[in-house]
């Protein structure tokens, strides 16, 4: 059943301060809408519970990508087209540029925003694994001020985030220290474009004298929220990438993930393929580490 437009309100203040004051003064009353690639789908299907919406598209304060010294800061309202085409992101954060190109089709990339992807908090969010791999930080803003949350602490559960009701995602900050890192990304889905992932994995790492010195692994669709594989990383840190280590890492991955059966895949397929991706990633790291 389609929604009836008269049941909904949508206002377009066109100014970030006005939006923040509204979220402060009428808490839990207003739902921000950016490019609408999630909210309008629910609305079209008659499933949108929020009745009062405030547009944050296209607030200029949220649409900037700024390179300042050690960080690149991506405004929460930046579209995936903007992110995928940005030369600084292509150069320093290729995993994110790659993930951006996997989100929906061109029209959805033109409207879908990184802030929306994170606030919506789908376990299958395609930008999430890359943000874990790059140790991202989320800058949130409200009428009370702003604060930073490590991305690894942003997702609290299924569709639950650390955002307070009056807060918006102002920017995603990525530290520029991954240029020389080993990297890996792979999406497993029905097709790369448009189809939502069955599984997506991204990782960065470094080897020193054949041992893992640094590693960050992010995964989508393997838990109620996007997940950083911290236990698996612990198994790998300091270890040489032998067959035994890889087997142990696969076991750790299996212990810290809780995939489910849904319309896109099954839990057992996801578990097996996630282990295979981990192994593929580790063997590619071992091979490129050996070349260094």
């Amino acid at each position: 059943m389609r929604s009836y437009p008269a049941d909904y309100e949508l206002i377009t203040p066109g100014n970030l301060d006005v939006v923040l004051c509204l979220l402060r003064d009428e808490p839990n009353q207003w739902t921000p809408i950016a490019g609408g690639t999630e909210i309008m789908v629910l609305y079209g299907a008659g499933k949108l519970l929020a009745r009062k919406l405030v547009s944050i598209w296209p607030l200029p304060e949220l649409r900037e990508i700024v390179e300042d010294g050690d960080f690149i800061s991506i405004g929460g309202g930046c579209s995936f087209t903007q992110i995928g085409r940005h030369p600084g992101i292509q150069k320093h954060f290729p995993l994110l540029a790659q993930c951006a190109s996997w989100i929906g089709g061109i029209a959805n990339q033109n409207r879908g925003t990184i802030g929306g992807n994170l606030a919506n908090a789908s376990p299958a969010a395609d930008s999430a694994p890359a943000l874990f791999a790059y140790d991202a930080e989320i800058e949130v803003i409200s009428a009370r001020g702003s604060r930073r949350i490590p991305y690894s602490q942003f997702h609290l559960g299924y569709k639950k985030t650390a955002l307070a009701p009056d807060e918006l995602i102002h920017a995603v900050r990525l530290p520029r220290r991954f240029d020389g890192a080993l990297r890996y990304v792979r999406k497993v889905g029905t097709r790369n474009a448009q189809a939502i992932s069955k599984i997506c994995m991204a990782a960065t790492g470094n080897l020193r004298h054949g041992r893992v010195e640094e590693i960050r692994i992010g995964m989508g669709s393997m838990a109620p929220a996007p997940l950083r594989l911290t236990a698996t990383e612990q198994v790998l840190l300091g270890a040489a990438l032998s067959d035994a280590t890889i087997a142990e890492a696969r076991k750790a991955l299996s212990n810290e993930t809780t995939p489910i059966d849904d319309i896109r895949s099954t839990a057992s397929y996801r578990s097996l393929v996630a282990g295979n991706l981990l192994e593929e990633m580790l063997r590619s790291f071992a091979a490129s580490g050996a070349l260094k």
């Binding site: 909904y8 309100e9 206002i11 377009t12 087209t81 929906g104 061109i106 029209a107």
Partner: protein
Amino acid sequence: MNTREFSLRVNGVERSVIVQPMARLLDVLRHELGLTGTKEGCGEGECGSCSVLMNGELVNSCLVPIAQAAGCSVLTIEGVGEQARLHPVQQAFLECGGAQCGICTPGMILATVHLLDRHHHPTREEIHEGLNGNLCRCTGYMRIFEAVEKAARVMESDAMESGAMESGAME
């Protein structure tokens, strides 16, 4: 009824509508402005049938509330060519058999116009990417890809001709 007035530019003409702010751009185009060339397929941003250009960017009009389109410039299939003279992309779809049932065609043509705007000589891979959000259940896509390549060639030779004419006129 929380209706308000929204103004936008559609195919180069300033238009005003009085609708609810959450009315979908797709419905405003079809029901308020009588521009029924834009088709509704899935209604959830998966199929691309309702693709239009908004400020030059390809969007699914089923996912755009009218309040977010206010003040924007929108191009629909009705504004792509003229009755008497089709746009080279339309002509190429016709000649190559890039259209069968026709439901995906308006969106496919808008996506092609958007693609050729950025890539004058797209590779097959760039064509696949540029049309990846537009689904066709009839053609099997091969004739669509051929139409895109043909349109690119025609548009290039048209541009060279008009360039030659302009420099001829200057002499």
